[in-house]
Structures are given as C-alpha cells and as structure tokens.
C-alpha cells in the first residue's frame, strides 16, 4: 500500500468543477480521498505532508497527441524517455500514437504498449490504435478487439484518412463500439508537396505552400460524416481561423464532435520559420498571426476543446536537411504547460480554460477517470508555481530528441512536483548555473 499524501496550504484548481479554492488535498491508495477548504481536517498516520506554500494543485495534464519511437525507432524516443519528459512537464497521462514499427493495429500490440509502459514508464500511457490496418487507409482495423485490449481511440496518427467510403465505414464501426475517432486533417491533393503555410512568407522563401483549405475541406467532410454516423469524432488538430468557424458551426447541432489544437499553432506563426528553421516545419503548418489569434479566441469561446503538445521526436539526421526535405514535427511534452500559461499571463485566456483543455476535456473525450480533482479520482496531480521564471535549455531536455520549437524560450510558470496515482514521479531541481 502506498503512503498517503497530504498537500496543504494550496490553491486547489479543478477545471472540471470550476473550483478554485485555498485548501488541502489528501490522497490515499492512489486516489484522491479528500479535498477540503482551509486547513486539513483529520489526517491518517504515516502521511507524507507537503506544504504547497500557496502554489497551485491541479490535475495532472492529459496530452492527447504524443509520438514515441517505441517500438521500432527507440533512438528517437522510448516510452520511458517520453514518460520522463512528460513527468517534468506535468503530463501524467499521454496518448501514444500508433505510428510505430510495427504499427499499433493489432490487439497484441496494444497489449505490448501497455505492458512496456507498466514496466518502464513513470506516467500513464494510453495507446491509440490504428484506424486502418497498417495505416494504409484501405481497411478498417479490429476496433472491437483493440478496445478490449485497452486502446482509447482510433486514429491514423500523422496520416489523414481520405477515402470517404472508408471514413464512413470506420466512423460507423467506431460508433458501434462507442469509441472515439481522431483524424488528422490534410487533404493529400490540396497539400500536395507543400511544406509550410501558403502565402507571402512561403512565396518569399521559395517554398511550396499548404492552403488552409487542405484542412477545412476534410474537416467539413469529417463533420458531415460524423453527423451521419453518430460517431464521437475528434478533429486531431486544427490550425486556421476558417476551421474554428467550421467547428463552432457544427458544434451547434452535434454535441459529439470535438477538436484539438497543437500548442505550437497556439503559440507561434509562420514567421517563426524565419530562415528555413526546420524545427518549425510542422503538420499542420504554422499559419498566419490572424489564424493564431483566431485559435486563441476559439479556445476561449469553447470552439476548441483540447490543447496538446503534438510531441514528435525527430533525430538530427531528419531535421538537418533542406527545409522542404526535412521531417515534420517538434517535441513538446516538457514545454506544453509553460507555453500554454503564456496565454494566461497575456490575459488572452483564463487559467481554468487553459487547464481544462489539458485535463478534464481530454478525459471526457477519452472516457477517463483522471483529469479532475474529485473524491475517488486517481491522484494524478501537479504542484505548479504559476510565476516561476525559467529558460528552455537544450541540455535540460529529457526527451531523447531535442527538436523543440521553444529553444531558449523564456517562460513564467513551472511544474514543481508531479504525482501519478499519489506517487512522486518528478520533483523540480534548480539547474546548476
């Protein structure tokens, strides 16, 4: 039996219930057993007492989009190294994408991920299984058996399923097993060989552009198919102002559709590509500042549900290439929360909304017990110093890959401690100067 944990003198924030109180939180046997305003009432013996000193206690983050290299590309990232990065970023659960070698399209492989995670990872690993066998976009995967094995959703990860007939079948079949579908949106024809946002910036750099219609066309298609089939549908990530409008419109008639946004698209824009900086080559691409502001507004208005890191470790070899030839993707587990807090400090979005998009909303979409501070919920917690200033330094990165879009970024707000099921998985240590 694990030792009980008592966090006192804390600002307890639970986005699920909109609660923001000063008080104490008690966790026993891996679950939250008591939340009280003011001083803690009675406490059991053999309890670890932590004085939060007024810092925030919030649910640990749930990151809905994380790529690792396990199995198949362990040099990029393992479940263990990703979980280490996650713990330091306050992420207590992450959904790992099925784009591995082999692809997670079989119940035995879901089982493998869960066993490897249990043996090696510090945080909860939630396997997403492939929507189509081999991510080939041709045949639907065994949703029933994959669900039984422990998959939390079906997605083709980086790939965007494009066949309308197949999408309809997959949506219908997922609805049959009451499982969410997560689809990345990129129309193959419209995206073509584009490598960044279409517009003046791309033209000036001589790079082929990706129009936002490469996202809005499949988004509209998916949302219509979602209404037809009754599936719980989550647009993995939207990047443009037009997509925010489309989501807002469909949400009025279909409560079963949700969407996410990458912290990169919320924080950065196409100008960050600068002089062919490949760490900023992402999918979807960073778009205009107007698009970014629309995404921030969409987060505030509720048109956007989830913020994820899109953590995608890529090694130096595939990033140290001419821009058009380099791989997409950036890591993000360690900087997700700090980057999101920028939106709070800039007063663009309130703290509860930002936290909700990384805790209770993902939990609701995936049907998880975590992501909230409530009696009986798992004691997946973070202790957050909202004002702590720090700088992202490559030598401090815990991920096996260092392709971050936030190199040398200055942040306010740092996770001081992370707990998974009441167990300490991370304690911040001041870096040596």
């Amino acid at each position: 039996m694990t030792r009980a944990l008592l966090i006192e003198n804390a600002r307890i924030i639970d986005p699920a219930s909109n609660r923001d109180i000063k008080g104490a939180l008690l966790a026993e046997d891996g679950c939250i057993s008591e939340i009280s305003e003011g001083a803690a009432p009675g406490t059991p013996e053999n309890v670890e007492r932590i004085d939060a000193g007024g810092m925030i206690v919030a649910p640990g983050l749930i990151d809905m989009r994380v790529f690792t290299g396990e199995p198949g590309h362990e040099y990029r990232e393992t479940l263990a190294s990703a979980s280490n990065a996650a713990a330091s970023g306050g992420v207590t659960s992450f959904v790992c994408m099925p784009d591995t070698l082999p692809v997670i399209d079989d119940s035995a492989l879901v089982d493998f991920i869960l066993r490897r995670a249990q043996a090696t990872a510090k945080v909860n690993v939630l396997p997403a299984a492939a929507m189509t066998k081999g991510l080939n976009g041709e045949e639907i995967a065994e949703f029933g058996l994959l669900k039984q094995a422990g998959a939390v959703c079906f997605t083709d990860g980086r790939k965007s399923v494009g066949s309308t007939a197949l999408l309809r079948a997959a949506f219908t079949y997922a609805a049959n097993f009451d499982m969410p579908i997560v689809n990345h949106l990129s129309d193959a024809g419209l995206a073509g060989h584009g490598v960044m946002n279409e517009g003046l910036m791309a033209t000036g750099l001589g790079l082929k552009g990706i129009p936002s219609e490469a996202e809005t066309v499949p988004l509209e298609r998916d949302l219509q198919l979602a209404a037809l089939t009754g599936v719980r549908y989550h647009a993995a990530q939207i990047s443009s102002a037009a997509s925010v409008d489309i989501m807002a419109r469909h949400r009025q008639t279909n409560s079963g559709v949700t969407c996410g946004v990458s912290i990169n698209n919320l924080s950065l824009n196409e100008n960050d590509v600068g002089s062919y900086r490949t760490f900023f080559k992402l999918s979807p691409p960073l778009r205009s500042e107007d698009d970014r502001q629309a995404l921030v507004a969409g987060l505030s208005s509720g048109a956007i549900d989830v913020i994820h890191s899109g953590h995608d470790p890529q090694d130096v070899e595939v990033k140290r290439q001419p821009f058009a030839e380099s791989a997409d993707g950036a890591i993000g587990l360690e900087t997700l929360l700090a980057a999101a807090l920028r939106l709070v400090h800039s007063r663009d979005v309130d703290l509860l909304t930002v936290l909700r998009a990384m805790t209770s909303r993902p939990a609701e979409i995936l049907g998880l017990q975590s992501g909230r501070l409530a009696k009986g919920a798992p004691a997946d917690l973070i202790l957050l110093d909202l004002e702590y200033p720090w700088v992202v330094e490559e030598k401090e990165i815990r991920s096996r890959s260092s392709n971050t879009t936030f190199e040398s970024a200055r942040f306010s707000g740092k996770v001081m401690r992370t707990f998974v099921a009441g167990e300490d998985v991370y304690t911040f240590k001041e870096p040596a100067k």
Binding site: E138, I140, G144, N176
Partner: protein
Amino acid sequence: MARTKPQKSLNTSAGTASNTPPFQHRHLLGIAQLNQVEIVDLLDRADAMVPISRQPRKVHPTLTGKTQINLFFENSTRTQASFEIAGKRLGALVVNMSVKTSSVSKGETLIDTAATLNAMQPDVIVVRHSAAGAVELLSQKVGCSVVNAGDGAHEHPTQALLDALTIRRHKQRISGLTVAICGDIANSRVARSNLMLLNAMNVRTRVIAPRTLLPMGIENIAAEVFTDMREGLKGADVVMMLRLQHERATGHMIPSTREYYQFYGLDAEKLALAKPDAIVMHPGPMNRGVEIDPAIADGPQSVINEQVEMGVAVRMAVLDTLLGEGTQVTE
C-alpha cells in the same frame, strides 16, 4: 402476352385452404405482395406436402405435363436443387438453365432471355438474379408464372416461407414469438423477406448486427435493433443466423472474420442468453467459425437441416398453388 390464370384450389388435409379464397397472384415475386391469410394458406399447403417427400415413392403428380424452367443468373446449388426436386416430385418437366451474367448488358440480356424462354411456352420460370428488381422485370415480359428465387438484396420469398414453416412446426405458432435475425442485414434478401413475413405474422422481430451491416431505416422494419448480440439474444425464441459474405465485407464493413466471430458469431455462451428451448436457424451455406460455432450448427438446438427439408415442401406448395388444378393431397 398475358394469359388468364386458371382458377384452382388445392384442398389439403392439414390446412384451411378450403376456407380461403383462391390464390390471387400469378407470380410469387416477394413476401411484400402477400397478406397474413395468404401466408398461412401457403404454410398450410406446404405442411401438407411434407409427408410426400417422406414416402418411399415421392410422387404427387399434380403438375404432369407442365414445364418449369429454373433460370439462375447467380450461382446456386441448394436453392436450384430444391426447386428442381420440388417440380419433379409434382411431375413437372424441369429444365435447369444457368446463365452467367454479363455485367455490361444485364438488362438487355435479361429481357432477351425472357422473350426467348417465353416462346418455348413454359408454365413457370423460377428466377434468381443478382440485381434487385430483375425478377419482377422479367415477370413483365413473359406469359407464365414467375417465382422469385432471390433477387439481389431484395427478396427471397420461398426462404422466408420455409423458415416460417420450420418455426411453426417447432413452436406450434408464429405470432407472438421473439425472432432475432443476426448478421449481414444490409446485404441480405433473406433478412428482408423474413422481416416482412414475420411482421405480417405479428412476431416481435429483432435484428442484430454491427452498425456497418445495418441498412438505413431498419428501425422502421424491425421492431428492435441491437448492435450488442448478447442483448439482442436475450429471451429470443428463434435465433436466425445469416451468412456473412466475408469476401465482400472484410476491410470495408467489418475488419476481420476473427473479430466478427468474437462479437457476432453464435457460440454456446451467447446462445445461452436466448430461451432454453430456442431454435437456431441458418439459410446456408454456413461459414463455420465465422458466424456460427460448428458445435452449435450441429447441436441439439439447430434446425438447419430441417430448414432444407421444409424448403422442398414450401417450393412444392408454391408451384402447386401457382400451377396446380386442384387435386387432393393424399397421404
């Protein structure tokens, strides 16, 4: 081209045929054209035909001198054999024609073939075709009776009748029973004909299938729709399994036969949820280990072989009703 149909009545020892009006239809194109009285009449006549096939000399020559053409545009072994045996036991001259469909000119071929056959003065043409509505189209072009032996995913009326007869002989009634039809409802003519017949007989109809194999609007045809087989089987008197056309469905409608078997295959554990005396049916041919556990198919609750026997009786009754001239069935 139209020919008047002779008035006739088959007086059967078992049935109520003598009290019902003569069969009003020249063709049997689907269950949709029949009302409850006509269905019961056909079942009674079929019931009376059963003993003939159990006699040492299986002859009941009411159709001597009649010509029956079995025109099968789609491969079939059991249905064609069943119609052939039915016709021959009634003394008709039976000719089998298997026509491979040319996908390019189906319509033209169909009507040309109909005209050609019609010139040979048959009395009945039994037709199977892969296209829904093809049998009705053909019936408009010939001067004889036409029996639908299956048209696309539309109707297979003799299958529904033989299923009903099998149920009635086991349960002594049809009305009021709970019948669960499980499998590829979307692509099944057997399911459509059965649902129409069972609804006409006031059966509590259920369909069970993954959503990908349920056609739009099914909730208006079946009384209850289930995607969870265990729920759908609870309290059922009859469990009717359908063949999964897995060559066609895999990858698009269902991911694999192993997953299908896990969730929608009939095994002992799932069957235990139905009534203890529930009967298990299958129109054949079966995919053992895909939609049904071989132990169930061959088990004590299975009436699958009896369905085949009733098929001959139903087809004899249908042919006799359409063509016969009112001879007494003797036992």
